[in-house]
Amino acid sequence: MSNPQQLRYSKEHEWVSPVEDGVATIGITEFAANALGDVVYAQLPDVGSTVAAGETCGELESTKSVSDLYCPVSGEVTEVNEDVVNDPSLVNSAPFEGGWLFKVRLEGEPADLLSADEYAAHTAG
């Protein structure tokens, strides 16, 4: 699998898009989606809520397990992907594209994120 170079990554397997007008898009990586198996339910943060980097902000439920969703950045949630809420399998079929989860208006510059190559090394272990 390949992790898009333009994204940045958390050790908890979320990706963060390049910032546009102060807003970044968040999703989970293909590695994480494969580890979860078929995602059947996505509980995403409420639009307008404040999220903090490193804290849980939702959960993803798959056939065999439920996993906390960690927020890789701090800020205010501006949008959630209703397509994923309605069809969580998008997280499996297009984790880096149509399966994005939510958007955050950033408070400050995100810290401790990995480059695609660093994330690839992190997941190789």
Binding site: G37, D38, K64
Partner: protein, 375 residues
Amino acid sequence: MSSTEPHRLRHTALDALHRSLGATMTDFAGWDMPLRYGSERDEHIAVRTGAGLFDLSHMGEITVIGPQAVALLNHALVGNIATVGLGRARYTMICRVDGGILDDLIVYRTAENEYLVVANASNAQAVLDALTERAAGFDAEVRDDRDSYALLAVQGPESLAVLKSLTGVDLDGLKYYSALSGTVAGVSALIARTGYTGEDGFELFVAPGDAEKLWQAITEAGAPAGLVPCGLSCRDTLRLEAGMPLYGNELSLALTPFDAGFGRVVKFDKEGDFVGREALLAAAERAAVEPPRVLVGLVAEGRRVPRAGYPVVAGGEVIGEVTSGAPSPTLGKPIAMAYVDAAYAAPGTAGVAVDIRGSHEPYEVVALPFYQRQK
């Protein structure tokens, strides 16, 4: 993700093949087993609509053979094995003296005085030990055959057609819960019409050295019918939809068959004494007078999935516990099996919810199974 030391896991004869297929592996009862190859939901649906191929070589085979094999099994198990005809199979249980369920089993009568007992991987050693101990005084041998067999299962409505293309054995004449010896794809096999999916299907006990050849032949023969390799993840959702109990979830040492709702497998009227008889008589009486919790089905109104151990609640009180739960690919909703107080066990009982990590999600009580194939 499992962090179990891989070198301590046991591997089946098909291990290299699973890896070449890109399977996600998991530690199951000390075995490194395929959890899924691709999407577990697709694998589940393939078994319901076409066919699926499983490696079940972790299951524990024990042979009981000798003039008093049937007497030994009747003493050691709760069922009446004397009524199992040649070439037939029986679902049964083995209990402790206190009536607690040690394992649930399938017993195949493979010859006049020979039986193949198939135990769950997690309990195989305990079953072997119990049978060996209980064999004292009987003219019969208990043989550990766990390493003698690989076990492949072909399950689904197309499984009959797929296997027929690989064997001259009369599979049409092979009834459900029957078994016979024959050749499949040039491989000697015990061919059993049994399974754990709620579909028609076959289980093939073969020499480990033949497993890969048989797997490849079934894969090729089944491809036009939509046969796919299937992992343990979909095996669990298939058996859950079919309302079949899983040891460790619905069955345990803490429960007698009567507490678990499977009292029908206990046969008090068989010849001779059997291990657990006294305790089971008391449990049967207790169950008749003061019913214990009842195993029921629960279907979600929402989308959050109940998991084993989650409390079942009604009117602010805990009235039961989930034993197995998963999103059901067939129903398109989360489902669960749960033990609930008898007062809440009737299908349609109102006001029942599952405590899913603090939030009470409404669930409908239904009769088991959730899914029954059209015959």
